[in-house]
Symmetry: C2
């Protein structure tokens, strides 16, 4: 694995991937979201080596995505719980699941479905300011307060001060 750090990229996607972009990390989180908390249970479900699992869990604790909590004093035993920062990653896991259901597995073969108020549910994105449903063609990306010469919008977009990218990306 080419293990270049993304921390220097002035981009929230890259910095998010710096934390959750490792193989296994998103699957560890997937399991955390269905209530898995203990090392042995993660290990058994993922079929992952104990060393790799230890490294991934420690990185997630270090980044504040999971917290280690002692659940037994004798013998001392810890479990891993999602923090608020970790729970906020639900949107990422959810988006991956919906994409996998629709484009890879097929919705009629989905092994897991989501219920909302007892009806089967999929989701759509709405603008939290105006409430309208939004898709890729309804929005554009522009330089934000932290933009600088390393910002990942292309120079032609930065020059225009707006991104026509979604329409271009035919």
């Amino acid at each position: 694995m080419k293990r270049r750090s993304f921390e220097d990229m002035n981009c929230s996607v890259a910095q998010a991937l710096e934390i959750v972009g490792e193989w296994w990390t998103l699957l560890i989180l997937r399991d955390a979201f269905v209530g898995i908390r203990r090392f042995d249970e993660f290990q058994e479900r993922l079929g992952i080596s104990r060393n790799v699992l230890t490294t991934r869990l420690e990185a997630l604790v270090e980044h504040g995505v999971l917290q280690r909590v002692q659940y037994s004093e004798h013998p001392p035993r810890d479990e891993y719980r999602l923090t608020n920062k970790g729970r906020a990653l639900w949107t990422v896991l959810h988006a991956l699941r919906e994409w996998g259901d629709e484009w890879v597995v097929g919705e009629d073969k989905a092994s897991i479905v989501m219920l909302h108020d007892d009806h089967r549910s999929t989701t759509e994105l709405h603008c939290s300011q105006c409430g309208d449903k939004v898709g890729i063609r309804d929005v554009r990306l522009v330089p934000g307060p932290g933009a600088d010469e390393t910002t990942t919008l292309p120079p032609r977009v930065l020059a225009q001060g707006q991104a026509g990218a979604p329409a271009q990306a035919t």
Copy 2:
């Protein structure tokens, strides 16, 4: 990199990661979404080796996420465009960006912001059936039509026929 295939896992998250879970792949897609199409431009922006980039682009073409289109006959030159399957990954990139903005970089330091109808926008998830706003605590996961003994819901959830996981995952 521990390169175990996720294809055997009966889980849409794992199968989505089989396609987009590689280091770099999501950053290649991030760039595709802002209109980058050509090999040299990806290579320059990502600082990635040509070999790695070639492998990743070919995998994305093979999986139908990108399509290779000839844009010049003399000399022959191809570019890479998002397919419908690829464009559908926007929700994943978008969720990563919003999480990175909020929890890693800080919204006041975001290098890129999203505009919708000329107002700065963030998004929220709504149920596409009833229209209500939904968060992790409003939904539960249950076995779907493709569920079997390898389904990644924990046995206690499968036995109940419902997932209390979001509430448990304190």
